[in-house]
């Protein structure tokens, strides 16, 4: 993985400042049926290639961000604030 990871708030920062949570999946509605929740909790596309995941800028701005990373090359293509992303998705 590249040594520097772009944070939407802090710019390029050393990757050791971040904690990786895992797949950035869309959370089902609270009253969604059990099949949707099962899919969200347990099933994964597990792609070989571009992958969106939640990272926490633990030793920086402490914001949750969504990083788009390639699971084969480890290249980071983009990052954005997780709350911004959730808001823009809620609007669409």
């Amino acid at each position: 993985m590249a040594s520097l990871v772009p944070c939407p708030h802090c710019g390029q920062r050393p990757k050791e400042e971040f904690t990786i949570k895992g797949a950035a999946l869309a959370r089902p509605a609270a009253d969604a049926d059990a099949v949707d929740w099962f899919d969200y909790v347990y099933l994964r596309d597990n792609p070989r290639g571009a992958y969106e995941e939640y990272w926490h800028h633990t030793s920086g701005c402490r914001r949750w961000i969504v990083v788009t990373r390639d699971t084969v090359t480890h290249e980071v293509a983009a990052s954005r604030d997780a709350a911004d992303r959730a808001r823009s998705e809620a609007r669409t």
């Binding site: 993985m1 990757k15 050791e16 990786i20 895992g22 797949a23 099962f38 899919d39 909790v41 347990y42 099933l43 994964r44 596309d45 597990n46 792609p47 070989r48 992958y51 995941e53 990373r69 699971t71 084969v72 090359t73 480890h74």
Partner: protein
């Protein structure tokens, strides 16, 4: 050719010119009874037991690279059956019993060395947890001994017993645990399967799974279409990719796990030792190198290589356990792609597609499970019903709520 002391002697006298290759390099046939995707330890063991125990010999093992190039050659070679939960323990003990007879069974020197596996504990709570685990093992007929601090000191005087943060209070010892030469496991199973008629086909990548009327009819490969009655997947870190070809989405994430070998040292560590206050496990190979590993890197990866942060983390844990490691040079490190399931336990089961079978989700524990995994998967394929010790490893257990969460971490694969 059967290997024996006599065959070594006679071949030696003839200048070692008459050794035959241990397995053939066959061209794929147009159709097989069973195709196994993945020529790793589990796939080769499955083919071996299908042929030897269940009489199914029209079998092909398809490997995209060369056999032994994946996780069977990328682990820390540890075998053990010190599991707590009833769904796991009898299965891993079956594996241990198969390890104990393996070399005679497949006539190949796999250097099975039962030198003991010792898990250290560092607190009262951890001692209680290990007491419970040891008792569970003994109730299942598995050997376990709880050692106090002095007994551990006698075995391994160089450990940091008085570490201010993580003092060593004792350990849980399984004397029948140990190490096995991992490459020889792949080779021995390949040779045993090949001699019974199985085609081990290397350099043959599966690119698609063909289906008709809800059944698998065969696979498209880099060497053309190959038909089959039954398709069995044992693709480890690439399980999600292969399953996706059949339209299945698995409860699995692929993560990278690193392992390391140091320069050769004089005899130093007799068995396998694991640190209880961090994730670190070490043994010494017959060549003298320390073989050790730790945690996953923690992010999804297919890269078969890891990052420096994890190297540092592993080295710190090792040094906290054995301060003398600070002067040891690391020779090499490598990464393997773990098929991390959502509860840390494997899957050996049928799938929603009638003639498609799945063997996946081995997390860290794939190597020690190799013989039992192959045996139970072959049993399932041949008989249609799960082998009794593997009956809990169902694909639908997540949906039904019957998880086998040995570590108690929940659906968080990077923590298992």
């Amino acid at each position: 050719m059967r290997y024996s002391a006599l065959s070594i002697l006679l071949n030696g006298l003839r200048g070692n010119r008459n050794w035959a290759p241990a397995w053939r390099q066959p061209e794929p046939k147009s159709h097989y009874d069973v195709i196994i995707v993945g020529g790793g330890g589990h796939g080769l063991a499955t083919a071996y037991y299908l042929a030897k125990e269940f009489g199914i010999t029209k079998v092909a093992v398809l490997e995209k690279n060369y056999i032994g190039s994946g996780n069977v050659g990328r682990n820390t070679t540890i075998i053990r059956s010190n599991y707590l939960l009833p769904g796991n323990n009898p299965f891993y003990e079956l594996s241990m019993k198969l390890w104990e007879g393996l070399e005679q069974d497949f006539n190949f020197n796999a250097m099975v060395s039962q030198r003991g596996v010792l898990n250290l504990y560092h607190s009262d709570a951890q001692r209680d947890a290990y007491t419970r685990r040891g008792n569970a093992m003994r109730l299942h007929g598995v050997d376990a001994e709880l050692l106090d601090r002095e007994a551990v000191r006698k075995m391994l005087p160089f450990l940091d017993f008085d570490n201010a943060r993580f003092p060593i209070r004792g350990g849980l010892l399984q004397r029948r645990g140990g190490t096995v030469r991992h490459d020889a496991v792949a080779w021995g199973y390949a040779r045993g399967a090949d001699s019974r008629g199985v085609d081990v086909i290397q350099g043959c990548e599966v690119t698609g799974i063909r289906r008709e009327n809800g059944r698998v009819t065969g696979v498209d490969t880099s060497r053309g279409f190959i038909g089959c009655n039954t398709l069995a997947l044992a693709a480890a870190g690439n399980s999600s990719q292969v399953a996706e070809m059949a339209g299945l989405k698995l409860p699995i994430e692929s993560h990278v796990l690193q392992a390391f070998v140091s320069e050769g040292l004089k005899p130093f560590i007799d068995g396998v030792v694991t640190f209880g206050a961090g994730h670190f496990y070490v043994s010494q190979s017959d060549k003298g190198g320390l073989v050790f590993g730790g945690d996953l890197d923690g992010y999804n990866s297919y890269a078969q290589r890891g990052n420096l942060a994890t190297v540092e983390h592993v080295a710190e844990a090792g040094k906290a356990m054995i301060p003398a490691l600070s002067r040891v040079r690391v020779l090499r490190s490598w990464g393997g792609i773990m098929d991390m399931s959502m509860d840390g336990s494997p899957i050996i089961d049928r799938t929603p597609i009638d003639n498609l079978y799945l063997n996946a989700g081995w997390c860290y524990g794939g190597f020690k499970a190799t013989p039992a995994s192959g045996f139970c998967f072959a049993h399932l394929i041949a008989r249609g019903t799960p082998q009794e010790t593997a009956a809990a490893f169902r694909l639908d257990r997540f949906e039904r709520g019957y998880l086998i969460d040995e570590k108690g971490q929940g659906a968080q694969p990077n923590l298992h």
